[in-house]
């Protein structure tokens, strides 16, 4: 493993621990999908994206749209650890008057590029940003993290067509393919497979990778950045609840309260 990947794994553990603490404090929120997205978000914010945390609205920055907005804890923890705001703010998540709303609000939180909440909407927003970049001859890239269950939303595929039709090679979407949605296994509810083929058919450059292997993730992002004339889709195989054994691969942990006892157990697993 390269030094960077090793370092990122350590950062991801810190982010996972923050997520658990936030969810314990808040008494609600979405553990499973936050933990499955953590390595992807860590790779983006520490290595892939061209950002300046001391200048959150720097015009040339790469943009990130968290279409799977329920993974907000992972994004907030990453932003705090990256220096956008004080780590202590994380303890206010989901509370009255907090800067950290249940789902990301760009007017309240420094570092959030787009307010999101309703499922299926992020990729269209990412496309709009990317079209503006091309119009203005700016070189920033736009990253959009989509939940796999979320790809059951029709708007995702409308947006998939738009990105391909306009050759938005400055768009990189990542599907967090943890195979578990709120009500259970995606394949039993509304089968997504073969998901990579669906995106290929929509004329995207598809890169399939292990969404928890930092080296593979970094390679996937590098490959995506090198593709010309087409948007890229990183199909990241992940594990819902990754890092906390009793949460792994469990739909039950999509949206469940973290109790004191279970918190201790989870933190031990993440030590």
């Amino acid at each position: 493993m390269s030094p960077t990947a090793t370092e990122l794994r350590g950062v991801a553990t810190v982010v996972r621990r923050d997520i658990l603490t936030m969810l314990l404090e808040a008494g609600s929120g979405h553990p499973g999908g936050s933990l499955s997205a953590t390595d992807i978000i860590t790779a983006l914010y520490w290595e892939v994206m061209n950002i300046r945390p001391d200048r959150p609205i720097w015009e040339e920055r790469d943009r990130f749209v968290l279409s799977k907005a329920h993974a907000a804890p992972a994004l907030y923890a990453a932003l705090a650890r990256r220096g956008y705001f004080d780590v202590r703010e994380l303890m206010t998540f989901r509370k009255l008057k907090s800067k950290l709303q249940g789902f990301p609000d760009m007017h309240k939180t420094l570092g959030i590029d787009a307010s999101v909440g309703s499922p299926g909407q992020g990729l269209s927003i990412a496309n709009g940003l990317a079209i503006a970049a091309k119009r203005d001859e700016k070189s920033f890239r736009v990253y959009c993290l989509i939940g796999d269950g979320e790809t059951q939303e029709g708007q995702i595929w409308e947006a998939a067509m738009t990105a391909a039709h306009h050759g938005l090679d400055n768009v990189c979407a990542i599907v967090d393919r943890n195979r578990m949605m709120g009500d259970g296994d995606t394949e039993k509810i509304a089968a997504l497979a073969p998901l990579g083929d669906k995106w290929r058919t929509f004329n995207w450059h598809v890169i399939e990778t292990d969404g928890h292997d930092m080296e593979q993730l970094l390679q996937a992002f590098a490959e995506a950045a090198s593709v010309k004339g087409k948007p890229s889709l990183i199909l990241a195989r992940t594990v819902k609840g990754k890092g906390v054994p009793f949460m792994e691969n469990s739909a039950e942990w999509h949206d469940r309260k973290v109790t004191e006892d279970l918190y201790e157990e989870a933190m031990q697993a993440l030590s």
Binding site: A114, V116, S124, N127, G128, I131, A132, Q155, E158, T162
Partner: protein, 340 residues
């Protein structure tokens, strides 16, 4: 009328034009003046009023295809990057199909996306009830931070389009494709959020928006012969409502009638009723609109007639409300029938 800068609608044959043409001229003027606007359409450029703009400014125009939700989401991204965007589609497809995207992405983000509901109201005419957007004003009005404007004619639509580009937040512009009389001129004042008195009168006030402002003017003129003095107010901005004007005319004339080419639930009439109930001065009131029913196929003019939205229907609502006023009714309706 001339002193108010209105067109002479009673003495010469009124000129007819779709309000969407005014929208198009507004867009062209903005582009000519060098404003960095982007106009999007979802496969309706042929009819929605963006066709000429597309020809003249292909680089500022994007036909995204038949995907209204995605169009509005994409517009959100463009607005996040600093663009002023106008999106155009049928009223029903904007306010209905894309409502959640407008709410959760455009309004929640306070983005400068102006949504033009073309072919709204009964304009879809022959296409019938499923295509006629009667609920759009009501559902757009509930959105936080949304401005809702219903231009009376193409002149006003142009002014509203230019004004919308200057508001930092979202605007819903409700447009008609039916050719309707031009009531206003270049000189008629237009300020977003400010209702305008188009005709003075003391017995009753008619607050109208959209293409039925003309019908309200006609009704006022017709009733003049019966000795009824009708004040007519163009309430083009349904949200934010000009509450001061609504309260003032209600108190001064002691009775009001609202008129809109759409659902009588939750639109201009609902907004005025909410406002008046809360200033503690409710007056006898009638809401002329389409009451809890879908539209149906027919020519625009026939449909206005059918739903009681012409000067005749408005005049009968005025007589009803005056009877209530004379009987001392205090906003309580008796056995009178609905006019819608």
């Amino acid at each position: 009328m001339a002193e108010m800068g209105l067109a002479d609608i009673h003495h010469s044959a009124a000129k007819l034009e779709a309000t969407s043409r005014g929208y198009e001229r507004g867009l062209i003027e903005l582009a000519e003046r060098g404003f960095d606007i982007i106009v999007m359409d979802a496969d309706l450029a042929g009819s929605s009023g963006t066709g000429e703009f597309r020809k003249r400014y292909p680089n500022r125009f994007m036909d995204i295809g038949l995907c209204e939700q995605n169009m509005i989401g994409t517009a959100a991204g463009l607005a996040l990057a600093g663009k002023c965007v106008f999106v155009t589609t049928h009223g029903m497809l904007a306010a209905g199909k894309a409502w959640d995207i407008i709410r959760s992405t455009i309004c929640y983000g306070t983005l400068n996306v102006n949504i033009c509901g073309a072919d709204a109201g009964l304009s879809a005419g022959a296409a019938g009830g499923s295509r006629q957007s009667l609920e759009d004003v009501a559902v757009m009005r509930t959105l936080t931070g949304m401005t809702v404007v219903v231009p009376a004619d193409s002149m006003e639509a142009k002014k509203a389009t230019i004004a919308a580009s200057r508001l930092p937040g979202p605007v819903y512009l409700r447009l008609a494709s039916a050719r309707v009389p031009i009531v206003t001129t270049d000189l008629t004042p237009f300020t977003m959020g400010q209702a305008e008195v188009y005709r003075q009168g003391d017995d009753v006030s008619v607050l109208a928006c959209g293409v039925v402002v003309y019908e309200a003017m006609k009704a006022a003129r017709d009733l003049e012969d019966e000795g009824i003095s009708v004040r007519v107010i163009n309430c083009h901005t349904v949200k934010p409502l000009d509450r001061a004007m609504v309260s003032r005319v209600a108190v001064e004339t002691g009775a009001i009638v609202t008129v809109e080419e759409g659902a009588s639930i939750g639109g201009l009439g609902g907004a005025c009723a909410e406002a008046l109930a809360q200033v503690g001065r409710p007056v006898p009131m009638r809401i002329v609109g389409i009451e809890d029913r879908f539209g149906e196929s027919g020519e625009h003019e026939e449909l206005l007639q059918h739903f009681g939205l012409t000067s005749r229907g408005i005049a009968s609502a005025i007589r009803e409300v005056l009877a209530m006023k004379a009987n001392g009714a205090n906003g309580v309706r008796g056995e009178t029938t609905t006019s819608g």
